[in-house]
């Protein structure tokens, strides 16, 4: 058993000595220290089964650590009530399931649950939060439509709206772009970027998300965490982290890294060991 390091967390959410796993003797994540910078977008990347989603689940108290701890505002997560956590930390799982026949507004309004009591089922604050969440995700026009009847992209925006309605400073998104086509992926990620941008009404939110696509991660992250075999291989600003060496080390992929022609962020272009159509002959 490793002892959690004593280092003061840099932000509101941090992990110390986190060991996670579904079976006792096979940890998926081993002795992980992680600091989530406030008001930034942190993206966790890594190959399949590296433990990135597992880590995110632990940060969102969906998975109990085998050892180590997750700290929220300096308190150990497992000592806090799940409702108390839900007031500070929102979370959208990879494949959320909505009840049959629920409408958009009904689903989004459920994001208010942690702020409500059975005798306070709908305060003006609830209403304001739901309106804002739906406007921000541009689903207000769909309010009375059944969620079942929406396209994949619309549905994902509705789920994000639900998480936003929770009005938490911290937001964890587990692969929010899965199952979406590229246009909808960009749409969702633009929204994520926006959330971490302070506005007049609200300070910047802290977003932690798991992404599959390294280029998207490099483009949208303020803080990139690359994981391999349950450990952190590298972390920092994408420009520092995303290098040809890292791509090779973490993903085992030979690639060149060039600046993204639009944003200037690192762009990973895999090398071609065999000729590909359209490539140089």
């Amino acid at each position: 058993m490793s002892t959690p390091s004593e280092q003061e967390p840099a932000g509101r959410l941090a992990a110390r000595g986190l060991t996670l796993g579904y079976e006792a003797d096979r940890p998926v994540v081993d002795d992980l220290d992680l600091d989530i910078p406030d008001g930034r977008v942190t993206v966790i990347v890594g190959p399949n089964a590296c433990g990135k989603s597992t880590t995110l689940r632990a940060l969102g108290r969906l998975l109990k650590p085998r050892s180590g701890t997750v700290l929220l505002d300096g308190a150990e997560l497992h000592t806090l009530s799940t409702r108390r956590i839900a007031q500070s930390l929102g979370l959208l799982p990879q494949t959320p399931v909505a009840p049959e026949a629920i409408t958009v507004a009904d689903l989004v309004s459920r994001g208010r649950q942690p702020h409500q009591r059975w005798w306070q089922q709908w305060s003006p604050a609830d209403e304001a939060a739901v309106v804002e969440a739906m406007e921000r995700t541009d689903v207000a026009a769909l309010a009375d439509r059944p969620v079942d009847a929406l396209s994949g992209g619309q549905r994902q925006r509705v789920w994000i709206a639900m998480a936003l309605a929770q009005r938490t400073d911290l937001l964890l998104l587990d692969e929010p772009t899965t199952y979406l086509d590229i246009a909808h992926q960009v749409e969702v990620l633009d929204l994520v970027r926006q959330l971490a941008t302070p506005t007049e009404e609200a300070p910047a939110r802290t977003v932690v998300t798991v992404l599959h696509d390294l280029n998207q991660a490099a483009r949208y992250a303020d803080h990139l965490v690359a994981m391999k075999d349950g450990r952190i291989a590298a972390r920092g600003h994408p420009e520092e982290v995303v290098t040809a060496e890292l791509v090779d080390e973490v993903f085992g992929l030979a690639a060149v890294v060039i600046p993204d022609p639009v944003t200037g962020s690192p762009l990973v272009v895999p090398r071609a060991p065999v000729p590909v159509p359209g490539g140089p002959r």
Partner: protein, 363 residues
Amino acid sequence: MTATLGGPRAATTGRAGARPTGYRVLRLPGGASFLLHGRALLAATVLALVLAAGCVASLSFGESTVPPQEAVRSVLGLTDEHDFVIGVLRLPRLTVALLVGAALAVAGALIQTVARNPLASPDIIGVSQGAAAVAVIAMTYGLASTAALPYWAIAGGLAAAGLVYLFAWRGGLHAARFVLVGIGFAVALRSVTQLFLTKGDHTVAQQATVWMTGSFHGRGYAEAEPLAWALLAVLPAVCWAARAQRTVTLDDDTATALGTRLNATRLGLASVGVLLAALATGTAGPVDFVALLSPQIARRLTGTAQIPLATTALVGASLTVLADLLARTLFSPTELPAGVVTAAIGAPYLLWLILKNRTGGRT
């Protein structure tokens, strides 16, 4: 459609989208506020009228007919002319039918919520069978006087549910496993009942068989009273359950993310459901299909995303009251057990539900 999230905000529908579709807000002084579903309120009102009409009909019709207004006057104590037929025979029995129907229906709603399965119900996951098995064993060994029988049945229902929990629990109450284990126990307990029926005294077997079809015959205030107290006692729990339904109907992770203590909540919901089912079954025997169907009928009436509990209770009460009225009068003077009537209504509906689920199922 592609929305431009970065661009200017799209025009919103404003108020209409501000609160969950179909709900109205009731604000009380002091900051209390309640979400009320418009169509659910309407459905509940209509059902209350249907139920009231059913109650009056139950009090009016039988071997002798009491005019409806006379029946109401009798209940209100404005006349003592029908004190025996209404006061002693019909009203107590009606009261039991009403309470049993409401209790079974709410039990079904809670168990379907926990199981996330419209085909789950206390008569499928072993509660009714547990109640029946213990009741029959108690009868067979002469342990139970007629008065004590409901308590044995309640104990049996609770014990069966406890075993189902125990075997279904694996670090949490998983919906599908809960149903499967329940079905297994239901089958096993039914065999136990059969075994004791054949082993036991034949008059006991006859009595038990009658009890096992679910009947309000001979039930009265003595049975209604404990049930009424119990219902009143679990009323706050039912209010809590209505609130908890908003999250437990989502997937596990999302529900947890919204601050729900999922295992505790599920256990709570299922426990209230099992308690209600055991009480109702103990009182009248297993009145089939009421628990299974009432929640689904109610949900179709209201169009809500979760099962509306008050509407469900009214559907259940209406079903049992009308079933018992038919059971008493259809082949008069021979009385059918009410459970036979509910089964006759319920079985085709269940079939339809299954067929519809198969063709129009969601992922």
